[in-house]
């Protein structure tokens, strides 16, 4: 007997998980089919982690409207779902009269979009806000911020899960078939799933899924950006993200403080068609450093701790011009299918408003009954590192596992790792533990804790060493026992 759902969401990234969480407010049986082994292995976890102000997008666009909404609600959402978010502001730094004109236009556009807290600042204020920056003046966006993109996505997914949503990992949708009853049958390597509604929140796979639904003709390109992560040692030199003055489609290489105190440098923007290749070439690493050093001259090789890349799915027209978010139901072609195409930046900021917009389209076609048991609150893993000494002492008294530091760089304790291993979504990869705790994310990159974490994962989940995966399918960490 196949599982029968009211709604199946294809893709468990930040948008898919936001849709799942927002839909769980209603009396619906909901499932999420995710091709990866966790919720933020692609674009949702591979970005600058900036909560945008909403000034950079054309007035009247969905990007502008949903970004401003997302920015406005982020504080409450972070509190409700217990993920790290900081409204630290951000600056766009300029030097020339042309830059000044662009910034003035950006402020007018931002205000027309409903963004608040935008103003020009002179050199003195700029250097007071970010002493280490190079530039003559800037636009300050007070409402911009940063968050932990992993925790944010995981929080949405875990809250959805707690409200009854089923998550299926390693479930890549390979075909979609219309059923006689008007519903859909979705094929995956692990069987078929039926649903009355389908939501395409497939991110980089949005065109593939859209095509499967019969909504053809979208052109989606990948825009790949590489990043360098710097040691926390330099974190104090960057209290807020520093961007150059943008061109109309590209925000430019920037330096961003992370919520955990690191600095990230990037991204460049390269058009790609391979949406699975995340390699970072040497020339891009050097290019990032050289470009960003003009803004913030503190990028030393000795402070590199890692590099990564992400790919944004951009919907473009036949001339290659980047289009707005597309959120639609094409009743004549694919009724009961919500199609989200080209959800790129500012998708992280706008995820919940995107979800609500999508659900709005569903509500125009079907009455959704409130779920009286919906609980909007979710509690994350209590982290030892950020607490006061008194709170740390109390935690250890309650649970001695909080006294055992496993990851020395990020000061992650055994208690946190155990909670991450037994996470509500059932994710069982090393990267899953990393994203949930920050173990292995520090400057030694797991040199001290990787073996301990692996050992705990084996013991807690009863796995053999050769079964433990790093992140993706096939990413087996070990070959087995030595003897």
């Amino acid at each position: 007997m196949k599982d029968l759902y009211d709604v199946l969401i294809v893709g468990g990234g930040v948008v898919g998980s936001a849709v799942a969480r927002e839909l769980s407010r209603y009396q619906l049986k909901i499932g999420v089919l995710e091709k990866n082994l966790d919720v933020c292995y692609e674009t949702s976890g591979r970005n600058s982690a900036v909560v945008h102000g909403g000034f950079a997008y054309d007035t009247g666009s969905l990007k502008a409207r949903l970004c401003v909404e997302g920015n406005r609600m982020m504080g409450d959402l972070a509190e409700e779902l217990d993920f790290p978010f900081l409204r630290c502001g951000k600056v766009l730094v300029g030097n020339t009269p042309e830059d000044m004109e662009t910034l003035k236009r950006t402020i007018s556009q931002g205000e027309a979009n409903g963004a608040s807290g935008l103003r020009l600042i002179g050199k003195e204020e700029l250097h007071r806000l970010v002493p280490a920056v190079v530039g003559e003046f800037a636009m300050l966006s007070e409402k911009s911020g940063i968050l932990d993109p992993f925790q944010y996505t995981i929080a949405l997914a875990e809250n959805a899960r707690a409200n009854g949503v089923d998550y299926y990992f390693d479930h890549e949708v390979t075909a979609i078939r219309r059923l006689k009853n008007g519903g859909y049958c979705l094929s995956t390597p692990h069987g078929e799933y039926e649903s009355r509604w389908v939501v395409n929140a497939a991110g980089l796979g949005c065109k593939t899924i859209s095509d499967m639904l019969g909504i053809t003709g979208y052109r989606v390109i990948g825009s790949k950006g590489d990043y360098i992560i710097l040691d926390k040692r330099v974190g104090h030199l960057l209290p807020m993200p520093v961007y150059p003055v943008p061109s109309n489609t590209y925000m430019g290489i920037h330096v961003t403080n992370t919520i955990d105190g690191n600095v990230i440098v990037g991204p460049n923007a390269e058009e790609v068609s391979d949406f699975r290749y995340y390699g970072v070439p040497q020339k891009n690493i050097d290019y990032l450093r050289n470009s960003a050093s003009a803004l913030w001259p503190h990028i030393e090789r000795g402070n590199y701790i890692r590099n990564y890349s992400g790919i944004l799915p951009k919907w473009v027209d036949e001339n290659g011009v980047i289009q707005d978010f597309k959120i639609e139901i094409q009743d004549d072609i694919a009724p009961h299918a919500v199609n989200l195409v080209g959800i790129e930046s500012p998708g992280l900021t706008a995820a919940v408003p995107i979800a609500r917009y999508a659900i709005g389209l569903m509500k125009e076609r079907e009455e959704l009954k409130e779920n009286p048991d919906f609980n909007p609150r979710r509690k994350g893993i209590v982290r030892f590192a950020g607490l006061s000494r008194e709170e740390q002492e109390r935690l250890i008294r309650e649970n001695p596992d909080y006294g055992e530091i496993v990851c020395r760089c990020e000061k992650v304790t055994r208690a946190e790792i155990l909670q991450a291993i037994h996470n509500p979504l059932g994710v069982d990869t090393m990267a899953g533990i990393k994203y949930r705790t920050r173990a292995m994310m520090g400057r030694c990159q797991g040199g001290y804790c990787q073996m301990r974490v692996e050992q705990m994962l084996e013991e807690e989940l009863g796995r053999r060493p050769e079964e433990v995966l790093y992140a993706r399918k096939g990413s087996n960490l070990l070959m087995g026992t030595a003897r």
Binding site: G279, Q282, Y304, G403, E404, R408, C409, P465, G474, L477
Partner: protein
Amino acid sequence: MEKRDVIVIGGGPAGLTAAVELYKKGVRDILILEREKHLGGILRQCIHDGFGLTRFHAALTGPEYAERFISQAEELGIPCETGTTVLDISPEKVVTAVSRRGLVQYRAGAVVLAMGCRERTRGALAIPGERPAGVFTAGVAQAYINLYNRMPARDAVILGSGDIGMIMARRLTLEGVRVQAVFEIQPYASGLPRNVEQCLNDYGIPLYLSHTVTEIHGDGRLTGVTVSQVDGQMRPVPGTEKYYACDTLILSVGLLPENELSMDAGVTLDGRTRGPVVDEYFQTDRKGIFAAGNVLHVHDLVDFVSLEAEKLADGAAGYVKEGSLPECPVEVREGAGISYTVPQRISGTRDVTLSMRVKKPFRSCRIVVRQDGREIASGKLARAIPAEMIHIPVRASEIAGTKPLSVSVEEPA
């Protein structure tokens, strides 16, 4: 807040030796804080032999070498908290530590920094390419095999000819792994010649100098690496790329003294050693905070770690008893051919031994210590290589006044 005359941070060879020697010199109120469940530090996973040839005139394994000090510390009854991680050292020498028993703060009369070093990672080198599973630092691979009984590889390539990398080439080979080659970006091996001989040559594992990994491939497990030759500036030479299919890349690309706690304490670090700047008593520029072993500068042999920690114990014991140590106004600077010297400051009133490394290999050369242009000490070497530390004694009677000393390599004209 508890008080201790000396808190030793780290129960590896440096910390253990320092604690034992301090005790022997009459300092009894000592506490060793060790984050692992057992004492011994990185020696625990070094099950090969060759330790102790200088210090004990015996070829010991790592655990055997450590055991000599652990059993002494136990016999002497030196208190030790294992499973205890130091979270912070304040400039006032308040040490905050955490364990399953709770959070404890100690006010220390003196602090011995003996935290050792960590391995440079792929991220720090920014090796281009994808990020599959199967890229391990040599120490992680060593820990998996020797401490956890886990096999990290079947078919490996090693980048970097550091000592742990070469030792792992042998270790993996003995465990049935195919080790295809070791690639070294420098035109010379970065580890000890004896390891090139015993770990690579004896097993027929080729060492390619002036080569580096220029791309990592694979999105699940590693599928291969691209290796390129490098030019004199260590830049990859286009057209020399060669693909090696393998499932594992082992990195042995350098060790970094682990000084995050030292920085919390306000200790000044030396940009070359990446360890604290110390005087001949192994005291940092924070009075009463001492450092020895790999946290100070990366050593070639553990024997020298022990010898250094013994000297530290001399200084620290004096500090505990007297409340201060004599000034060390004479700076020691590196001249031509020398990458660093330790200590960086000396009193000029006692005989000292300077430890140093050369920047590149030299054949038949002299290491010369000069003050104001005058030669005051020297050592003649048939061979000087960056892999081997060099020790040059300097007699106090030769030092005049407080003008800086300069150490350089002088080659025959």
